[in-house]
Amino acid sequence: MSHSQINDLPYSQRVVMTGIGLTAPNGNSLADFRDALLNARSGIQPYEIRYFGKTLAGVCDFEVTRHQSRKDARRGTRAGSVGIYCANEALQNSGIDWENTDKSRVGVYIGVTEHGNVETESEIYQIKQFDYDTKYWTHHHNPRTVANNPAGEIALNMGVTGPHYTIGAACAAGNAGIIQAVQMLRLGEVDLAFAGGVSESIHTFGIFAGFASQGALATHEDPTKASRPFDKNRNGIVVAEGGCVYVIERLEDAKRRGAQIIAEIVGYAINTDATDFVLPNAERQAQCMRLALKRAGLAAEQIDIVSTHATGTPNGDILECAAIREVFDHSETTWVNNAKSFIGHSMGAAGALELAGNLPAFADHVVHPTINLDDLDEECALRGLVHGQPREVAKVDYILNNSFGMLGINSALIVKRFV
């Protein structure tokens, strides 16, 4: 499909974002998050979790009870609370007349990296106090740990009666949630979608211990310097919680209600390395970006910002940079950045959150930087890498957002400034 063909698609096949709600370790709204990204405000802090002990994490401080009763927050999961906050904020931001919306035509598609570990670990810890007698195991365990939980809690909270489910896609999940919404809207399965990703991962010791055993957990005496993609002294991932949910609808519906249109989703791709459980594959990542470009009918040089996935692991960053170089190295007008350097790796939320942090660039033409890049690893040298300070550029019309995950899942999402 060529670029002109995308614009020629009927409005019923064009899909746009019309609302955003988010919580990040450095902001509980897009305005705050963007401000943090433009002013080098990290969200990483000292953190301690049972068994593992002292570490670092990106911790969110959104107001849980803004959209959820205390009882439901207790009964549900942290991922559910994150999702409920983000979805309600997105709804408010969208200006949709919710009361008069047919809830059976609304879908909820939420990306998760993992789900259920937090509750399972917590329950095992609880029954340990009772000599592992399973009579003390909570009856809330199954509704909290079913894989659809975060999406289901959103649907329950908002009265959505259309389809809801999570998309398990490791750290590509945020993009995958959005892509699922695009597909369902194009198929006519729903008329409106809440889609994105959430992460409660900092509440499971297992993720910290697992990355530490793998030699992939970041450490640094200054927490705000620990997440440092592309830097020679990077030493791994900082785990974060967070969430970002978009209101997504067909262009015809958005036009009809006179909605603010934040971005049009013009291309996407998901593919698989099929080479390793953990190690990424640069060739497949490049193929994924190319496929997204092809579907959008775009040449690489038309992309203004590449929002990288880079997590700060020694190998992962090098491989993504190789993939980006292969696709974009000839482009003089493509800028590259990274949000994990501010907030760490928000897992299932990462793709959706990192894209959100770049969306204001459509209007302000400022590319937020990657921070903590004090000593560039030559293997991570990229043309157009914006670091240290924000960069004002001539225009921002297209953003490509990378998100990759374990078991070799790759995703690339392309959004366009709507004109």
């Binding site: 009763s69 205390r70 009882k71 207790r74 009964r75 609880q126 009772f130 009579k135 003390y136 909570t138 009856h139 809330h140």
Partner: protein, 85 residues
């Protein structure tokens, strides 16, 4: 535990499982469900918390005894007589 202490123990459990409710005006003679938003999962929480906090076992056939504060305290009195405050 004396009846008034058992009542206080139940209030503390209810405060945890129904944190949005105002329990100061609870009518002990009326069923919890008529005064509060409590469903079957919440009742299981009461049972679980009694088990965890006081090692009191409430078999399923006795759940109906937990309908109101008065019936709950009456039912628990013999079971909790030896429980220290």
């Amino acid at each position: 535990m004396a009846p008034e202490e058992i009542r206080q123990a139940i209030i503390e459990i209810l405060e945890d499982i129904a944190p949005d409710e105002d329990l100061t005006s609870l009518d002990d003679g009326v069923s919890f469900r008529e005064q509060m938003e409590l469903d079957s999962m919440d009742f299981l929480d009461i049972v679980m918390e009694l088990r965890k906090r006081y090692r009191v076992q409430v078999p399923e056939e006795d759940y109906a005894q937990l309908a109101s504060m008065n019936s709950t305290v009456k039912y628990l009195e013999p079971k909790m007589v030896d429980v220290a405050v």
